[in-house]
């Protein structure tokens, strides 16, 4: 069993959820303000990285309940999907529009289709961070346990 630092462990546990919320906020704010899918994904990736530093690979991978490679797959499909679907309506690829609904409690909700593209980018970044940890992190873990 590796030696765990109580201070690091507790801090990471406190910061982790806040960082994930921040990353999602950045994803949605990205349309008109600083932020976006890539930045949001990096924040989430950094949060997962912290989790890895504190709790090791298994804890980092447990953040996402599916195979890490599934995230970039879904993300890529989302991003390509937003590029493809305007073609069906004879619009140029990646053409985007703002969809608006009236929801019972929330009132007017607007969603630019560019956000879907950004969500794809977000998933790709998070998924790649997980895949890199999965591919390279195992050895570091073993060394930490061995030493």
């Amino acid at each position: 069993m590796r030696l765990r630092s109580v201070i690091l462990d507790t801090t990471v546990r406190l910061v982790f959820d806040a960082a994930l919320v921040l990353s999602v906020y950045m994803l949605f704010a990205g349309h008109n303000q600083p932020g976006g899918g890539f930045v949001g994904g990096l924040v989430a990736g950094a949060a997962i990285g912290l989790r890895y530093v504190a709790g090791g690979l298994d804890e980092a991978l447990a953040v996402v309940p599916v195979r890490p490679s599934l995230l970039p797959a879904v993300g890529l499909a989302l991003a390509v999907g937003t590029a493809l679907w305007p073609l069906a309506g004879d619009e140029p690829p990646l053409d985007h529009r703002v969809l608006e609904w009236h929801l019972p409690v929330l009132g007017e909700v607007a969603l630019a289709t560019a956000t879907i593209f950004d969500a794809g980018v977000y998933l790709i970044v998070v998924g790649l961070v997980l895949m890199v940890l999965d591919g390279l992190g195992r050895e570091g873990d073993e060394e930490a346990e061995g030493g």
Partner: protein, 495 residues
């Protein structure tokens, strides 16, 4: 029709996503890969028919108009090269399935291969210089991962060379983009055509030479070729084949596109290009003659043949450019099939070293026949496709009065033939090897699939020769468009 233009980029990316999700199920991955590339080939063929009839088609991504937004353009040159590339990639994918090397052991092979296809398509179709950089990077990223797939020590070492050299080229490319944008305020190639003409002559020549250097590294011309014979041969056989067939040719395409479209005739570095072309041919073929390993020998030939394409560009005439376009199509197909033959030989005998190979013609008569056709075509023996391409280049050179480069290209052809006979006499002639020495009895599993894929490519190269009449006509129209880009400019800049 405009809806077809982005598909060659988007479909492989979608396929890569599905392939990535399919993960360890190789059957699904194979089906996705083959279907995607077949679909892209069909799209490219349809585009070619349309573009050849009605002229270039441009698509403004996201609906943003041309000088600001991202433009995709399909014209004769780009689409004919795209079609040849995608068909070749399809054949190599089938070969990889039969070979069962990296394709079987690495779950990442199929997604990476499809991302590579997307990058290749984007490089051909993009209409702006910055997007060309992005497309190159997409392609290179996939190629970095493919060349080191498996992580054997030799691969890591040569992969390192490859990544570092590509990174130098990318940094230089970025630098020239900064200079282009600072000088003109645009990176759209059609817009640059008008903007660059107003620049002072010194700035124009500087930019032209900088871009030649950038794409020269990518396409491995003299003296920037040294990384290629070192890094290509160590990858898995299908990966080497597809790199050999495609990646350097995209560098040449970028060079042709940027030099003809961006710069007015008087600032084109024609003399420099012709000297570089001659030296590339000679140094490449001399390197090849000295090699004893099939894949290394063929890798030096990639360099040598690049010289012919640059020669066509350096002449800057309709005939020269037409011959260059035809020659690139021929090279994509023939070079890849030669590497596939080398792959089968290595799979069969366990070595690619000429000293250890012997008598394959008896054991593998079909393979020997395929090699002979591809090798003779590479050397330019009539009536094969290499002959048509070289004849076009020589005629264009004589018309332009560049006798020196014509003489060099003919001499290099002889040396090419010599080095091909070296492979033939060492590997295919002579006494057949002892039965127990040549690997698996009756050939490895998947041998038929490998031979079928190689055979299909060689047949394609024969088709390039048999259909030389119409294809050369197409290449001539493409060369005409390159010299006089009016229709290209109209397609991009018209609202």
């Amino acid at each position: 029709m405009t809806a077809l233009v982005p598909l060659p980029v988007l479909l492989p990316l979608l396929g890569a996503a599905v392939s990535l999700a399919a993960g360890r199920s190789r059957g699904v991955q194979r089906a996705v890969g083959v279907t995607t590339l077949a679909a892209v080939s069909a799209v490219a063929a349809a585009l070619l028919a349309h573009v050849d009839g009605d002229g270039p088609v441009a698509v403004q991504v996201g609906g943003w108009p041309a000088p600001v937004g991202i433009t995709l353009v399909a014209d004769r040159t780009s689409v004919v090269l795209l079609l040849a590339s995608v068909l070749t990639m399809l054949a190599v994918l089938v070969f990889a399935v039969g070979e069962g090397g990296a394709e079987r052991t690495q779950a990442g092979f199929h997604p990476l291969y499809l991302v590579l296809a997307a990058g290749v398509a984007a490089s051909f179709l993009t209409g702006d210089l910055f997007n060309l950089f992005v497309a190159f990077e997409v392609m290179l990223m996939a190629s970095y991962a493919l060349i080191t797939l498996g992580g054997r020590p030799a691969q890591v070492r040569s992969g390192m060379t490859y990544v570092v050299i590509s990174l130098v080229a990318s940094t230089l490319f970025l630098l020239s983009l900064a200079l282009v944008y600072a000088a003109t305020g645009t990176v759209n190639m059609a817009d640059l055509h008008t903007e660059v003409a107003d620049l002072p002559a010194g700035v124009r020549s500087g930019l032209a030479v900088l871009l030649v250097a950038v794409f020269g590294i990518k396409s491995a011309v003299f003296p920037l070729f040294f990384w290629l014979p070192d890094s290509y041969p160590t990858a898995a056989a299908p990966v080497t084949a597809v790199f050999a067939g495609l990646l350097t040719k995209i560098g040449v395409y970028a060079m042709i596109r940027s030099q003809t479209l961006l710069f007015p005739p008087e600032t084109r570095p024609a003399g420099l290009l012709l000297v570089v072309a001659g030296l590339t041919m000679v140094v490449g073929v001399l390197g090849a003659v000295a090699q004893n390993d099939v894949r290394r020998l063929l890798s030096f030939h990639i360099v040598s043949q690049i010289g012919y394409m640059v020669m066509g560009l350096g002449l800057f005439t309709v005939a020269g450019l037409a011959a260059a376009v035809y020659f690139i199509v021929h090279q994509i197909v023939v070079k890849t099939s030669l590497f596939l033959v080398a792959g089968v030989v290595e799979r069969r005998t366990g070595t690619g070293h000429l000293d250890r190979l012997s008598g394959l013609a008896r054991v593998e008569p079909l393979l020997a026949g395929l090699f002979l056709l591809a090798a003779l075509s590479l050397a330019g023996i009539p009536p094969l496709s290499g002959f048509v391409g070289k004849l076009g280049l020589v005629e264009a050179g004589l018309d332009a009065g560049s006798y020196a480069i014509v003489a060099v290209s003919l001499a290099v052809s002889l040396l090419t033939l010599f080095s091909m006979t070296k492979i033939w006499s060492n590997a295919f002639w002579g006494p057949p090897p002892e039965p127990e020495a040549n690997g698996t009895e009756g050939g490895p599993p998947g041998r038929r699939l490998m031979l079928a894929a190689t055979g299909a490519l060689v047949a394609l190269s024969l088709a390039v020769a048999v259909g030389a009449g119409p294809l050369y006509g197409l290449a001539e129209r493409a060369g005409h468009d390159l010299v006089d880009p009016t229709t290209y400019l109209e397609a991009v800049l018209a609202p």
